[in-house]
């Protein structure tokens, strides 16, 4: 009995100590300025964490697109928990007045919320101390209207990053702009691309120390993918790393050591293409960028190779559909791993790369988690680029049966290969992927990765295409439709230890096209294309609470501490993006090949989800 009391006492003591350590400190230090490299934070009484964090977590504020630099989208805030989430209610709501897709997430810095709108890419500052009053200010950058007709998949923007007192983000017409976070005045603006040849910019920057990293978009228009690094203070371009071309332009030097033989050799960015096709080789970087402070390396994925007609570009087409690891200062590549050589399906791998430290086969390893567009959950050693595991996370996936971990190559299904002039039927997933760019979240409390998944398939015919600058270099006729099983999407919990799915919340009608947030309160947040915003139990997948917003959710939830010290959760409601654009009046339902083939997968969306953007803030 005494022993029992001692055990309980010890447990309580541990819980109190951990609880004291963890209890929300209203610390508004930007994540990247914190020196804490590892700060696994446990809820009181929780079991050992399944993994360790690599970069500092967001506390009261949210200063980077994913909250932290490692793209975990995990918040240590736990005031909203699995017990009280049912009492969530809307606290405030703002319209940005734009009926185009609202992707990404707001930032919160010093009691101010910052929202980047789709084109015309206005920046709106909301005073969190005055939620019923007028907005603080709106910055109007007036980008070139031509950009609207060059963006493949709606005129979206995936958000901003904060650094050195500035909000930094990309404009659709290939400019990076830095705006004074207090005054709303432009500090600098730098042109990074040529909108007239079809280059656009939709992704969120990453800010690390004194540098800003941005990627471009436009693989459907035959542009060259590139990552641009700018000086945070001045906006000066420091270096550019292309996704194809000679090694000097890809920034491949003597420190480049790809793990697999297939990725080794000189000037593969030219040699793996026919003639000069690499000059229109796509491989744009329109997704997320991650950073490991200890290794001082950045990680990102590249998009599809230029022209979807695979027969027009014999070869591996490097470095499209590739995960790059680069020195964060010099930009020189340390390793690269091409996820799918010679893409047949438009499987951009610009997905989030989530960096965690975890035991793998009994040894601590520095991992990179990459839930692929192609349906396989890639687990990699982020120091070496070795592929450790690649299991299917969406059952219908049939373009390949798996990955050969020895060679790093996918085991392709020849029956699903695509060719010019031939309609290959029943390819799963569709070009929109087993998941889209919308980011997953991970929790150390459950050891689960929460993936927003799609179950969409397609018929695909390669078409010979002419390169005409500034027009789509597309080369395919694609028709998508819901996959087998009676559902088209799910929020899926994936066990990191066993690399198997644990539970899923299925969406019968539409893919899950919004991002995910995991919190220390064991609550996972996400939204649906029909506009439902949900709080789900992180352990069981039980829907704890949901709220119907007026339009489809394609944005990512984030959480912060308000000026009153209370936890809030924010989400955009505003349909659009590639699949969501079918809700717009200027896309016709009687052409299933419209909008690059997504119309056939979006039945009823015009009625289910009218366009129009709002941001919602929820609290207890």
């Amino acid at each position: 009995m005494l022993r029992r009391i001692a055990e309980v006492g010890l447990a309580v003591l541990i819980a109190v100590v951990i609880g004291f350590w963890v209890w929300p400190r209203v610390d508004r230090t930007p994540a990247h300025a914190s020196s804490a490299a590892r700060n696994t934070q446990l809820a009181p009484g929780a079991a050992q964490p399944v993994f360790n964090f690599v970069s500092a977590l967001p506390k009261g504020d949210w200063t980077e697109p994913a909250g932290d630099l490692a793209n975990t989208r995990y918040s240590p805030l736990d005031q909203i928990n699995a017990q009280n989430a049912k009492s969530l209610k809307p606290i405030a709501m703002f319209s940005d007045g734009i009926p185009h897709g609202q992707e990404g997430q707001p930032l919160v810095v010093n009691d101010t919320m910052y929202i980047v709108t789709p084109f015309p890419n206005n920046l709106i500052a909301i005073d969190l101390k005055n939620l019923t009053g007028p907005v603080k200010w709106v910055f109007h950058p007036h980008p070139n209207p031509v950009a609207q007709g060059k963006a493949c998949c709606d005129t979206v923007n995936r958000g901003a990053a904060y650094g050195d007192g500035m909000i930094v983000y990309q404009l659709l017409d290939d400019h990076v702009v830095a705006v004074d976070a207090k005054t709303g005045k432009q500090v600098w603006r730098t042109e990074t691309g040529n909108v007239y040849v079809g280059e656009t910019a939709t992704s969120a920057p990453l800010i690390v120390k004194d540098k800003v990293y941005v990627g471009n978009a436009g693989s459907e228009l035959g542009v060259r993918g590139k990552l641009t690094c700018l000086d945070l203070k001045t906006g000066k371009i420091l270096w550019v790393a292309y996704s194809q071309g000679p090694d000097s332009e890809v920034r491949i030097g003597p420190d480049f050591h790809p793990y697999y033989k297939k990725d080794q050799g000189a000037n593969l960015g030219v040699k793996t293409w026919t003639n000069d096709m690499w000059k229109h080789g796509g491989g744009t970087i329109w997704g997320w960028i991650s950073y490991d402070p200890e290794l001082n390396m950045i990680y990102y994925g590249t998009g599809n190779p230029g022209v979807w007609d695979a027969d027009m570009r014999p070869g591996d087409n490097k470095w499209s559909i590739t995960i790059f690891a680069r020195d964060a200062d010099t930009g020189y590549a340390r390793w690269a791993y091409q996820v799918e050589p010679h893409d047949n399906y438009d499987y951009d791998e610009i997905m989030e790369n989530i960096l965690i430290d975890m035991n793998w086969d009994g040894h601590p390893r520095k991992l990179l988690l990459h839930p692929s567009r192609n349906g396989f959950m890639l687990v990699m050693d982020r120091q070496t680029g070795e592929l450790l595991s690649a299991k299917k996370f969406v059952d219908s996936t049939n373009w390949a049966s798996g990955y050969d971990l020895k060679t790093g190559l996918p085991i392709k299904n020849p029956a699903k290969a695509t060719h010019e002039g031939i309609v290959t039927q029943g390819i799963c997933p569709s070009s929109t992927g087993a998941k889209e760019f919308v980011p997953s979240a991970v929790s150390p409390l459950t050891g689960y990765l929460y993936i927003p998944t799609h179950n969409t398939c397609m018929n695909y015919e390669g078409l010979h295409a002419n390169y005409i600058a500034g027009t789509p270099f597309l080369g395919a006729s694609v028709k998508m439709y819901p996959g087998p099983g009676g559902f088209q999407g799910a929020l899926e919990a994936w066990d990191l230890k066993t690399q198997t799915p644990v539970w899923s919340v299925k969406d019968k009608t539409y893919p899950v096209y919004g991002g995910v947030l995991a919190t220390a309160g064991n609550v996972v947040f996400y939204g649906t294309l029909e506009g439902w915003f949900r709080a789900v139990d992180a352990r069981t997948g039980k829907i704890l609470w949901q709220y119907k917003t007026p339009s489809g959710i394609i944005g990512d939830p984030m959480t912060f501490l308000g000026p009153d010290g209370k936890q809030y959760v924010a989400i955009y409601s505003g349909i659009g993006g590639w699949m969501g654009a079918v809700a717009f009046p200027d896309i016709s339902m009687d052409d299933p090949y419209a909008a690059l083939g997504v119309v056939g997968a979006m039945n009823g969306i015009k009625q289910a989800s009218p366009p129009g953007n709002n941001i919602f803030i929820f609290g207890l």
Binding site: N466, I468, D586, D590, P592, Y593, A594
Partner: protein, 151 residues
């Protein structure tokens, strides 16, 4: 005065459409129009009703419609406006909504002159008779004459 204005516009159009002329329309054919007849409607560009005679010579010509469909793919129109014109990066051509006018000539000018939200000006790239074939194909959408309709 009005004649001079119309003449000037035709010269501007000719420059925008190098190497091609509107069929059956020359400067001398342009009718004098009183200023009050010039619409100031929502159509950007010249703001004048298209000259008489500029109807599409290929409307409902099955061979030309097939040709128009091929050109629609050849010039990458389908990449923006959808595989069969249902829209995407650019607006649907299958619906009843026409931002810049739905007459043959207005559609011709939208292709030839381009539009401000990203529609390229094709007048210097595509011969005039091919533009008219594209117009004929676009106007055939959702009609029984549409070649290779979506299915």
């Amino acid at each position: 005065m009005q004649i001079r204005m119309v003449g000037l516009l035709l010269i501007v159009l000719a420059i925008a459409c190098t190497g091609c002329e509107s069929p059956g329309v020359t400067e001398g054919d342009a009718p004098p129009m009183p200023a009050t007849a010039v619409p100031v409607g929502p159509i950007p560009g010249n703001g004048v009703a298209p000259p008489l005679g500029s109807t599409d010579p290929y409307i409902n010509n099955p061979v030309a419609l097939e040709e128009g469909r091929k050109l629609f793919v050849w010039y990458n129109c389908y990449g923006c406006h959808g595989g069969h014109g249902g829209g995407g990066m650019g607006p649907s051509l299958r619906d009843q909504s026409w931002m810049y006018g739905s007459t043959d000539a207005q559609i011709f000018y939208s292709i030839a002159q381009g539009r401000g939200k990203g529609m390229p000006a094709w007048g210097t790239k595509i011969p005039e008779d091919q533009i008219w074939k594209l117009v004929a194909y676009i106007k055939s959408m959702r009609t029984p004459n549409e070649p290779d309709p979506p299915r």
